[in-house]
């Protein structure tokens, strides 16, 4: 097993499981208690940020026991795949510099207040030396994130926001040290440290947002079923990871399980749900000799499949290749902060240099000219500019996350705000992508019959059974006590209830032909058989969400891989135009066509077949129920069933960009006021630092208005 296990002398091992559904204190307590109550578990500790639980237990407990204990308390969990080890946190390395900058800024400020209030002579000199003693090492340590970034930009012959910051900080620190050594009147360690403190604060917020979004998405990605039970030569079953599968192996695929590789059926007959791969909603039957594809869901009965292609040879891998090339268009997008700093850094440098030369020519001493140049550098420091974008995006994505939408990164919000055209996949996106029993038929069932149906359905992993059990449980029915429950592969569930034979089985051929769609038959001996039909229902709130999109000026249409007959009904209900039977390449081309017509396209899709389209579109959203490929390709992932999250995300991103623009106006407006004063020599570096902090606070306060953006 691919468990990150660590053996220690007491025969105790540690297992880490991801539990994506965990989201509150109640969940944490439930998870920790249900695991802690197991014999042999020493400790169970939840990490809510990463949606993981770390369990120390004796070797007598195997991983599946832990998973089943968790599922008994209602949480799905997966062992952590060591290939997908959590990426290093972006915020963590910034915390220590932030703390050092805060400590040093406060203590140096304490000395500075003493100097301002009239300390003189030897006292002032001592205060300056103390400030230098704290300030120089603190600046060297806390400024490192900026210095390294500026250096790597300069080495490649480019410039970024960190270049003017690094130059300003270094020059100001050097000049302050010179002043201190020569017993001068002023030193500006306090201003420099305050500058670093604010900048690090902005950086840390930005990094925290990315960490949090990534933790959420990662825990979803890890849910992928990435392996299969392989039948060995001696008939023994062995679990192999998908990448270890080789052509010629025989894998046993249970009903309700997803195939890990392409293959040919060797034994058994079943139906396969190919909706993730092609968008087709109706299951496709296949018997011995039939071809089946990786990523499809086995619906009815266990089958043995001889692997014909695994890993990079599968139809799945082909789609991944398409996606890689599609993603290139998006990587050309330049974030608004980078566009601003491209203009900004050269302007600031030439301005500072010009004021240095100007003052020298005007006859000022080198010392005075340098002080003015440094004031210009510090006062124009892109502090507010550096905060303008990340703070707004952090607040917006926090609001969206509370509303159940996860944002991959800040540039996604920028791209989403510009879209004016939306394309929806049908199966799994506009619809739930899973069968839902007909509500009228469910409600017509007598209570005792319903509880028998619930009891039978809850014993099976078949997708129809699970859907039926869920629908009945939601309506408040409880399971009836059954005896001798057994599952007959490919046929259904049988049991005894109060001495009567009961069964939940696949419908007779005649009944199925008469009906056409998906259905199950409920038999209670003595009663006539009841047929319960299933359909892939629209997501709740779809019509309202589409209306809101239209009101926002976004034209919507359907882009589905399903057959036209299946799409037509959804198209009629939603009133959207539809393109049917589109292959992944067709979808990608449809988006390219719209883009070349000057439109910014949002793709909403879930399946593997949507992957290239999701990567090619200007922005993309996938439901949490999507295939891992879909979730990986999308910029946003929304949880829950409702489609209302999509217009909400668009509205929030637009509000975010509006605030970003206001922030830029504030930051640049401040520079327009302050720079002439600095060039004129009316501003000391200390006032410059204070003014800059004030503008930063203004920008932060303005961004906090976005807390309620996700409405």
């Amino acid at each position: 097993m691919n468990l990150p296990a660590r053996l220690d002398p007491a025969g105790e091992i540690e297992t880490v499981l991801t539990v994506p559904a965990m989201h509150c204190a109640g969940c944490m307590a439930k998870v920790e208690r249900s695991l802690g109550a197991m014999a042999g578990v020493t400790s169970a500790r939840v990490n809510l940020t990463a949606r993981q639980v770390r369990i120390a237990h004796s070797t007598s407990i195997a991983m599946p026991d832990l998973v089943s204990a968790l599922s008994a308390s209602g949480f799905a969990s997966q062992p952590l795949d060591e290939d997908l080890a959590p990426p290093p946190s972006a915020a963590k390395p910034l915390l220590a510099p932030l703390a050092v900058a805060a400590f040093a800024a406060m203590n140096v400020m304490m000395m500075s207040v003493g100097i301002w209030s009239g300390a003189d002579g030897a006292t002032r000199e001592m205060f300056h030396w103390l400030s230098a003693g704290i300030g120089i090492p603190a600046i060297a340590y806390a400024g490192r994130p900026f210095f390294t970034s500026a250096w790597s930009a300069l080495r490649r012959g480019r410039t970024n926001m960190d270049v003017p910051i690094s130059i300003g900080v270094t020059l100001a620190a050097a000049l302050s040290l010179y002043e201190t050594a020569t017993g001068g009147h002023d030193a500006w360690f306090d201003g420099v440290l305050m500058l670093l403190l604010f900048l690090l604060g902005g950086r840390t917020l930005d990094a925290m947002m990315r960490d949090r979004a990534r933790a959420g998405v990662d825990s979803l990605l890890r849910q992928a079923a990435t392996g299969a039970m392989v039948v060995g030569k001696d008939g023994k079953l062995e679990w192999l990871a998908a990448r270890a599968l080789l052509p010629g192996m025989v894998m046993r695929v249970a009903a309700g399980e997803r195939l890990a590789a392409d293959g040919v059926i060797a034994k058994g007959t079943s139906r396969f749900d190919r909706s993730l791969l092609t968008g087709e909603s109706a299951p496709v039957g296949a018997g011995p000799g039939g071809d089946v594809l990786a990523g499809t869901l086995n619906l009815d009965a266990p089958v043995d499949v001889t692997v014909s292609a695994a890993g990079t040879g599968t139809a799945l891998a082909e789609i991944a290749r398409l996606m890689e090339s599609a993603g290139q268009a998006r990587s050309r997008y330049v974030r608004i902060a980078d566009r601003a700093s491209r203009l900004y850094a050269p302007a600031v440098h030439s301005l500072a240099l010009a004021s240095l030369i100007g003052w020298l020519l005007a006859g000022a001493g080198m010392h005075q000219a340098l002080i003015i140049a440094i004031s210009v550098l510090i006062i124009t420091c892109p502090c507010a500019l550096g905060l303008a974008v990340p703070v707004a995006q952090v607040v917006t994505s926090g609001a969206l996350m509370k509303a159940g939408v996860m944002v991959k990164d800040g540039s996604a919000l920028e791209r989403l705000s510009r879209i004016n055209r939306a394309l929806f996949d049908k199966t799994g996106t506009l619809t739930l992508g899973r069968p839902v029993p007909d509500a009228r038929m469910i409600e017509a069932l007598p209570a005792d019959v319903a509880s028998v149906a619930l009891a039978l359905a809850s014993h099976s992993r078949h997708p129809l059974s699970q859907a039926l059990a869920e629908a009945l449980a939601v309506r408040g029915f409880t399971a009836a006590p059954l005896e001798s429950v057994e599952e007959v592969a490919g046929q259904g569930m049988r049991a005894i209830w109060q001495g009567r034979a009961v069964a939940l089985r696949r419908p007779d051929v005649a009944a199925r032909e008469g009906f056409g769609g998906m259905a199950t038959m409920l038999d209670i001996s003595g009663d006539p058989a009841r047929l319960i039909s299933f359909a892939d229902a629209l997501r709740p709130g779809t019509i309202a969400a589409l209306a809101r999109m239209a009101a926002m000026g976004i034209e919507c249409s359907i882009l589905s891989g399903d057959r036209s007959s299946a799409v037509a009904e959804v198209s009629r209900t939603t009133g959207l135009m539809a393109q049917c039977a589109a292959t992944p390449v067709d979808k990608q081309e449809a988006i390219a066509r719209l883009q070349s017509a000057g439109q910014n396209v949002l793709m909403v899709g879930d399946g593997l077949n949507d992957g290239p389209a999701l990567a090619a579109a200007d922005a993309s959203i996938a439901p949490g129920s999507a295939s891992d490929v879909g979730r990986q390709a999308a910029d946003f992932v929304f949880l829950g069933d409702g489609l209302a999250a999509i217009p909400r995300a668009v509205a929030a991103s637009r509000a975010c960009m509006a605030v970003v623009k206001q922030n830029f106006t504030l930051a640049i407006g401040y520079n327009f006021l302050a720079v002439p004063l600095a060039i004129g020599g009316y501003v000391t570096p200390l006032i410059a630092a204070a003014a800059m902090s004030a503008s930063s606070l203004l920008v932060v306060a303005n961004s906090l208005r976005l807390v309620r953006a996700a409405r």
Partner: protein, 50 residues
């Protein structure tokens, strides 16, 4: 003047102590799960968590 000679070292020492405590907490992984720590206070500890 003599007051300053005592008070400034005290102020700096207290600040440094705070900074050292923060580094200790950072090293002890106390900042690993801020969301969890915020929620943990809501758990009713009827039976002690192991």
């Amino acid at each position: 003047m003599t007051g300053i000679a005592i008070l400034i070292p005290i102020a700096l020492a207290m600040g440094a102590l705070g900074l050292a405590t923060f580094f200790w907490a950072l090293k002890g992984n106390q900042f690993e799960d801020l969301e969890g720590a915020a929620n943990r206070i809501l758990i009713d500890e009827e039976d002690p968590l192991s």
